[in-house]
Assembly symmetry: C2
Homo-oligomer: 416 residues x 2
C-alpha cells in the first residue's frame, strides 16, 4: 500500500518549524508495511493545499495531511479537502460535546466561538477522536476508494492519532502478507568506525538481505540493520538474529540497542551490585552528573558530584595534591586519577569517575590540543585511566567526554 | 521570485533522517526575498526524482534539489536532471583535479573509481565549487529560463553552497525592490504567556504590518516579530523599532534576542562586576553547571559546583543543617537558601545558586507535587528564593529549573 503525506503550514516553508512529523509518519508507516512514496509541504494558502492534496490523490489514492485543523483563519485544510470531496461541513454533536467538556475542565468557559468550528466535519467523514487536543482527526473516503486522512500538526496529537487510529485502519486494508521496512540498532561507543568495520564487514554477506548502516554521533557509532520489504515475522526474526551476530562481533564495545542510554546501563550495573557512585568533573562542568540524574531513579545509586572547574576547587574539595597540578597540569593522568579517588573518598561511594580536559575553543597547546581529555574510573580498589583526543566543537567534546567516562566505568565493572 | 525545493533520499521518506535542509533553505530564501512555495521529498528512485523535478519546473520555473549527488549507485539526481534538460554528462577537468588533490591530501590515494563520477557534470552547467566536500553543486539553465540547482544533501555542505553560491546568484535576478520575510525574536523567561499577552497585546496594532508570535519552550516564551513582504531596509528598520517596543513593554522579563543564552548573559553580568559564581544543585543534578560551562570562557567567573543529590551530601558538603532537612524536607525554602549560602561559603564566591526540587516521575506528594522546585540565589549579602511548580516531564522540569535559577540570579544582579 502506497500513501503520500502533505504537511500544511507557512511556518514549515519559511523554516520557522522543522518538519519532524514527516519523519515520524514515514517511520511508522514503513514499520507497518505501508510505503510513504512522497511528502509535500505547502503553505496555508487554500489553493496550494488543494493542489497538493488533489495531485496526491490522483497519483497515489491515499493521502495523509498534517496541520491546518485549528480554529483560526489560517487553518484551511478541513474546508479545502471537504470541498475537494464535494462534502459540506456539518457540526458533529459528539465532537461539540467533548470540546465543551474540555473547555469547562480547563476553566476556559464560556468557550470561544472560534473553537466551535473545530466541531465541524465534512459530511460522511469518520471522526478520529483526539484525546490530546481539541481538533479531531478526520477520515474521508469517496466511492472510488480515494482516502484523505486529516491530522493535526501538533506532533504529540499527530503521533497519538497516527498510532491509535490511522495505522490500525490502514493495516486492515494491507494484504495479509504485508511487507514491512523495519530496523534495529546496535549501539557502540569508544571504538573507531574503522575498527567496527573490520570486525563487522565480513558478516555483511551473511546478514543479507538485511542492510547495515554505520551511524556515527557524539554517543558513538550506531549500527542500524534494516529489513526491506520482508514479511513482518521474517523481518523481526532476521533482525533479531542479525543483531545478535553484530553484538557477538563487537562484544565489549556494545552497550545496548535502539534507545539504550549508557548512563542508565551504568546505573543499573551498579544498582545490581548494591553500589553507589560519585563523580568529579572539570571540563564536562556538570554534564556527567546531568546525564546520570536524567535517568529516573538515579538517586538509588548516584549520591552526588563535584564540579571542580577551578584548580583551587580540585585541591580544596577533591583533595587533589597541589604538587600534582603543578607538576603535570590539570589535564593529566595523575590529576584525573586523583579526582576520581578524591570523589570516591569525599562522597563515600564504591565507584567514582574523574574527568579533566580541554573543551576549547581556547586553551589548546601542541602537546595537549583542544579535545584532549583524561578520564579516570575507580571501582573499589580497581582504577583505570585513559587519554582520548575527541573531535568536534566544545559541545561535542564535552558530550563525548561524558559518554567516554561512563563507558570507562562500564568496562571496568564488566571486568573487560 | 518563487522557487521550489525537492529533497531526495529514501532515508527521508522512511523517517531515518529528519529533513533539516528543508527548514534551512526556507529560512535563507525568505530572508533574501525569495519565496519557497513548495517542498517535495522523494526517494532515490530515478522516476520519482524526475517526476518531482519536472512538475516543479513546470509549476514554478526554478527548483533547488538536495541529495543524490554522491558517488554511489543510489545517487541519481544528477543523471536524472541532466536527462530532463537533454544534456549529456561530461567530465569537468577542474572538478576532477580538485577531487584528486583532495584524495591525496586525505591520504585516500589512489582514488576510488566511483569518486571519479563526481567530476561528471551536465554539459553546459555552471559548477558551484564545494570546498567542504567532494560533490560540487550544479546550476543548470535552459533557453526558456528554467533553472535547476542541484546541491548535496550533507547539511554543512548544502548550507555553504546555498549561502555562498546560490543565494547571491538568485539575488541578482530578484528585482531591486526585493521583498523579504525576516524575523527578530525577543526572549523572555520566568513569566506566564498570559502576562506577556496583557502587556504586549495592546501594542500589536502599532506593530503592524509586523506580526507577533508567542513561542513557549522550556527556556521561556519567545516573541517572534516577522516582517512579511517588505523591502529589506524597511523590514530591518521596522523589526528594530518593534523589538525595542517589545523589550520596553516586558522590561525585566527579557534577557536578550534571537540566539541569546541566559547562562552567557548571567556570566557576563558577573564578569563585568569582577565576581565569581558557584552552584549547589540537587534535582538538576549537574545541569546548571553544564549550562554555565557550555559557555566558552566560563572559567573566568564559574569556579565550580556541588551536585548534592543525596541529603547526606547536602549536609556534609554544603553544610545544610540536618535539622532544616528534618523539619522542612529537602524541597523547601530553608534548604534551597542553605544550599546557595553553603555553596558560596564552600567555594568562596561572590554569587551562588541553590536548586532543590522534585523532577519526577515519582516522589510527588499532594503538598509538593512533581515539578515543585525551590530556587535560591545569593549575591553578596543579598539573597532571594522562589518556589515554582514547573510543568512537563522529568527532562523539561530539570531544564526549566536550571533556566529559572539563572533568571533568579539575573534579576537579583539587575536589582529588580
Amino acid at each position: 500500500m502506497n500513501v503520500e503525506l502533505v504537511t500544511v503550514g507557512t511556518e514549515l516553508l519559511l523554516g520557522f518549524t522543522v518538519d519532524t512529523n514527516g519523519a515520524e509518519v514515514g517511520r511508522a508507516c514503513a514499520a507497518a508495511g505501508i510505503r510513504l512514496v512522497r511528502r509535500t509541504a505547502v503553505s496555508d494558502v487554500p489553493a496550494d493545499i488543494r493542489a497538493a492534496v488533489a495531485e496526491a490523490l490522483d497519483r497515489t489514492g491515499i493521502v495523509i495531511t498534517t496541520g491546518g485543523l485549528g480554529p483560526t483563519q489560517d487553518d484551511a485544510t478541513k474546508a479545502v479537502v471537504a470541498d475537494l470531496f464535494g462534502r459540506p461541513l456539518v457540526t458533529d454533536p459528539d465532537v461539540a460535546q467533548s470540546l465543551e467538556e474540555r473547555a469547562r475542565r480547563m476553566g476556559r468557559w464560556p468557550m470561544a466561538a472560534s473553537n466551535r468550528t473545530q466541531a465541524e466535519v465534512p459530511a460522511g467523514a469518520t471522526v478520529l477522536p483526539n484525546p490530546r487536543g481539541t481538533a479531531p482527526g478526520i477520515w474521508l473516503e469517496d466511492p472510488a476508494g480515494r482516502i484523505a486522512i486529516l491530522l493535526p500538526g501538533v506532533p504529540r496529537e499527530m503521533r497519538g492519532l497516527l498510532h491509535e487510529e490511522v495505522l490500525p485502519r490502514l493495516g486492515q486494508r494491507v494484504a495479509g502478507a504485508a511487507r514491512v521496512v523495519r530496523s534495529r540498532t546496535v549501539r557502540t561507543t569508544g571504538v573507531a568506525e574503522s575498527t567496527i568495520a573490520d570486525r563487522v564487514g565480513p558478516l555483511e554477506p551473511d546478514l543479507a538481505p538485511l542492510t547495515l548502516a554505520y551511524l556515527p554521533s557524539v554517543d558513538g557509532v550506531d549500527l542500524r540493520l534494516t529489513a526491506w520489504d520482508l514479511a513482518a515475522g521474517d523481518a523481526d526474526a532476521r533482525l533479531a538474529a542479525g543483531a545478535g551476530r553484530l553484538r557477538d562481533a563487537i562484544a565489549e564495545h556494545c552497550y545496548g540497542e535502539d534507545e539504550a542510554d549508557l548512563a542508565a546501563v551504568v546505573l543499573e550495573m551498579l544498582r545490581a551490585r548494591g553500589a553507589t557512585l560519585a563523580v568529579g568533573e572539570s571540563c564536562t562542568g556538570g554534564l556527567l552528573g546531568a546525564r546520570l540524574t536524567a535517568v529516573p531513579g538515579a538517586s538509588a545509586v548516584f549520591l552526588g558530584g563535584e564540579v571542580a572547574y577551578a584548580d583551587a576547587v580540585k585541591i580544596d574539595r577533591l583533595a587533589v595534591p597541589a604538587e600534582l597540578l603543578a607538576a603535570h597540569g590539570a589535564v593529566s593522568e595523575p590529576v584525573a586519577r586523583a579526582m576520581a579517588a578524591g570523589a570516591r573518598t569525599a562522597f563515600g561511594t564504591a565507584a567514582a569517575l574523574g574527568v579533566t580536559g580541554i573543551a576549547g575553543p581556547a586553551g589548546g597547546t601542541p602537546e595537549k590540543p583542544v579535545g584532549t581529555v583524561w578520564l579516570a574510573a575507580q571501582w573499589g580498589d580497581a582504577a583505570r585511566a585513559v587519554r582520548v583526543v575527541f573531535g568536534g566543537d566544545r559541545d561535542e567534546i564535552r558530550a563525548r567526554a561524558a559518554q567516554g567516562a561512563l563507558n570507562l566505568l562500564r568496562r571496568l565493572l564488566a571486568g573487560a
